[in-house]
Symmetry: C4
């Protein structure tokens, strides 16, 4: 894995330091590179939202519990009927070529790499949407199609008609689920490329849900109010996310928001979370706070740039390995055993 990271560090020179801690510290080279334009791989504006994700997770600590019969943790996770090897999937990062150019990795190659690498590791690669994507050039859906549908497609909050067309395409290639990342509604990049994005009402969401046979996911929930409306609309899953700190400056860390939402909606909707998760230890923290599963983003970029499909697979296996160890050392035989008592 160190080799993969070394190559990535070389290829991402000036964009990402591939630091040992990817913590959104204000001094990192990725942070604060712009006033709302191109972001690189850092957080938007001051970078506080990115850094808050790290800080919120860092507050929680793991309680070791060792005295008992030895066991091998069972990390299997059921995601809409698919038995995954772990409750960890790759986030719907898109536009990686925008900061590095095709010389680093082309958008299709990035998408394919994530989908295939995750599949090989027993996980799922989610694929996203950005201003370079269209119904004709849908890199993510193409990559999922080439993996026999083993993927999840997230669409930006474009006009309803376009979203529904994307969903149909995703259905046709056999996607596992579809969704919208509603926090994309403030994107300048989309607006300035003539692909306007919008806030979505409960009615809009109901319409999207009824337009597809696939499980429907809303990504970008950071308040109880939004969670409540989305659950009421009938979504199958929500993702607690501030988009890796890349859509609005000064949002709280997701680990701070998560327990407010799991307290009310645990068991009523699948609750997924991302934001600052780097290891299986972080995964245990998030599951202890009530999440059903998690997404990881920046590390997947580095793995894909560093060693393609193999790099992604190695990274997901590292996530599984560290999750397994964390579960063993905290007395969790299954992921359902990861309760609030595990953290302190």
């Amino acid at each position: 894995m160190e080799d993969v990271r070394r190559i990535a560090r070389d290829k991402l020179k000036g964009i990402c330091g591939v630091y040992k801690d990817c913590d959104g510290d204000p001094r990192r080279l990725c942070q604060g590179q712009s006033y709302g334009r191109a972001l690189g791989i850092g957080g938007i504006g001051s970078g506080a939202s990115f850094n808050n994700n790290f800080i919120a997770l860092r507050k929680h600590k793991l309680r070791m519990k060792l005295v008992e019969e030895d066991f091998i943790p069972n990390t299997v996770y059921d995601f809409f009927g698919k038995k995954l090897s772990m409750p960890i999937m790759a986030a719907s990062v898109a536009g990686v070529n925008s900061f590095g150019g095709d010389s680093v990795i082309s958008e299709y190659d990035f998408c394919s790499t994530v989908v295939q690498g995750c599949k090989a590791a027993g996980s799922i690669g989610w694929r996203g949407d950005t201003y370079t994507y269209s119904l004709d050039n849908s890199y993510g859906i193409n990559a999922i199609a080439d993996a026999d549908g083993h993927g999840v497609k997230i669409v930006k909050p474009r006009d309803q008609e376009t979203i529904i067309k994307f969903f149909k395409k995703a259905e046709n290639v056999g996607c596992i689920a579809v969704g919208v990342d509603i926090d994309g509604c403030g994107s300048y990049a989309m607006a300035t490329h003539n692909k306007p994005v919008f806030k979505k009402s409960t009615e809009d969401i109901k319409e999207l849900i009824s337009s597809t046979k696939l499980p429907f996911i809303i990504k970008g929930i950071m308040s109880v109010e939004d969670a409540s409306k989305v659950v009421e609309a009938g979504a199958s899953a929500i993702v607690i996310s501030n988009h890796g700190g890349r859509v609005l400056d000064h949002t709280p860390g997701t680990a701070d928001v998560l327990p407010q939402i799991t307290k009310k909606f645990k068991g009523k909707v699948k609750i997924i979370v991302d934001g600052g998760i780097r290891t299986g230890y972080d995964v245990v923290k998030m599951l202890a706070l009530g999440a059903d599963s998690v997404l990881i983003g920046r590390d997947i970029i580095r793995a894909a740039v560093g060693a393609g499909t193999k790099g992604v697979k190695i990274h997901m296996e590292y996530m599984l390995q560290s999750l397994t160890k964390a579960m063993k050392m905290t007395s969790c035989k299954t992921i359902e055993d990861i309760t609030p008592e595990v953290i302190c």
Copy 2:
């Protein structure tokens, strides 16, 4: 905007680093340059007051609320009958030539640039007072006059007679409002240049109010007691301010003081605040804490030095743009919707 900042960084070499975060961190080059004499652009003494402004704002975070009908936020703000495009104005910074010399920018040019740039952006430039100003050389009032009165004139707490003469001059050129920054009473620079400054009593303030037909503002309120006396005296507006951390070492951040005052006086007097506000996200925080509007200071200096009137206009437009985005992402259709629930 990055271009403007690059030019400013060059012109302000050794005075201001034009850092991505203007946070008053003790390691910044502007901080701690003196023992109470020339300040440059940093905070007085240890710089703690400047840094406290940043820290106090940083504690608050924005709650994203996205599920609803799409809308375009209305940022219009009524300031004594003027409909502004935003609740953001330029602070009454003066003496910019004192640290850079006329080669950076002359005092009149700075004043004119701020007033004209703000006007062009639909805002108002406030103008101040320092030891180089007199009734005969009143750079700020001249600049306001040249903008057909579109400005606010703040006078240092000089003797009553002089203040009243300044107010008359401001009235004559059609100023929107006048005021006194009472936190200037400890200024060595004024004292040593034979322009003594004084604390002002409730009676003094009443006298000043009755001397002018213009709305009257007191700037430099940092305690409930002072707010109470000023409201009792009949002021039209107060500014919660520690003068950007430049008058007294070790004052709290204004965002920490603001809610104590808005709790008691919201609606009874116009409440304005400055201190560490760099973006529309910060503006939303301050309005959520009860302020009616805000002033920005250091960034205006950098914008003016970097690109004159155009630089100021661009910067104010950036403030408006980021405010609009922050309002959209936190479900605020108008500035009245920015209530305490918006932050967490």
Copy 3:
């Protein structure tokens, strides 16, 4: 002592900075060198567990009490019938040759140096176990044998049969006590070298206790639940330890866990603690939090590498000297006088 440290700094170039504060700060060169493989002398993964030990101790401060008759503190500590000069022993660090190679120090020399240096200072050197150790090559027991049994032998949580054989060997050379560091159950190094390690149940621990005449110690307790089971099983002593932050990322500091355990089990079992203890001042903090005695680890490596047996002896004497001073300045005539009132 500065000389010893200077030599160690030279020999450990790239492995350990021999910093004035060995605090597990993320910026230290030892921190974050690996993704779960070779650790050097830092903490595992992000290094948070190591750093948390330091932070947890730093929170506590010493209350000076000076007005009374002068006295010389009595630091004598009874450890299973041995009268030690201080309640401080050397931790069971093993595998020092794994990061430095034999050119720094051979494993046997390291073991012998620790055991002999501690004995010379009136303390006891504990010796450990790692993947290079076997019943035939038991560096620690050999070193203890050469010191006439003046040592404690800790075995990794291998299969029961192997542990019992190690215990018999330890008994035969006259060891003072034996034990198992149960937090070693997650070790990849042991697993990949065909020396598998396991979690241990209450029944397992009972079996181990009944297999030996020596006092039995469980090391690696970080929860009240584990302490309860181990006390119930009949152990003579427990060590509150996160293994210097080297077995599981994101564990709390031991000084944060210690009072929860001493509150319930003080007097029912000997309670020992390690983690971030660098001076007699830290020892007083740990004893004030309820520990009976402490272990020190990293500083012993540096002392041994720097000046062998003499280096260890000098370091232990420094620990005693600083403990004596701390006790004198906080009004503690004996180690029993070190109660919670001593810290604030």
Copy 4:
């Protein structure tokens, strides 16, 4: 003043950085230079005690109150019948030649400089004691004698007989007061130079008090228990002090301990405090926490080294000037007006 500091920075190269913030940050060059031996100008051991003084003061902030009649603050302070220009005196620092050598400043010159500079500024220089001092070579008393007795003499807690002889000498030259810094009882330097130091009991203190006609001061109080015993013994004044963080590692900041003591003993004994005080703003904080007056240490060394008697005088005048400003801006007409309401 900047000139004085520049010269001092040059002369103290490698000993003291003459930083803009003298905060005891662990990264400062003065910190952690030793394992209990020569200290330079930093704190003992880890330097935590020094740093804690700074942190404890930094927590408090000043409440500006500006609306009232203008006034000039009266800073006069009565110290055992002497009317001082300010409630600020120079601490009993000794042994300055030990780190710099006579080439920086000789011990007598340092003492004389402090006593004369303080006297010229309307304050008092306290003089101390260290292993190079004896009844025959009493630099401090000589310097006070040469200033017509305008000084305070503090003696280390040597044997009673020696202390009493020092007090007699001090009486003979007309000293204003005498005292003992009981926190010196742990000094290795004294012990190793055959000048043993001791803890002092209530009876010892009574004996010292009855041995002299001068007001008697105990310095080094960091607990309510010690304060209680010393007040009971009949001391005229106590100094809350951790000796600038130079006698015991990990003591709390004095500003954290002060209010516990002033709450019980305000008005029953003169309460003086030192530790991290650099400006009149810090003085206001300490007086708001209940102190009657304060001592300053490190800045006096830098002033004396930088410009001798004149440097000390300039520095004390700066202290007075900043105190005056702080009082004016917080609505304190006299030092008695500096109550807890002044800070927040």
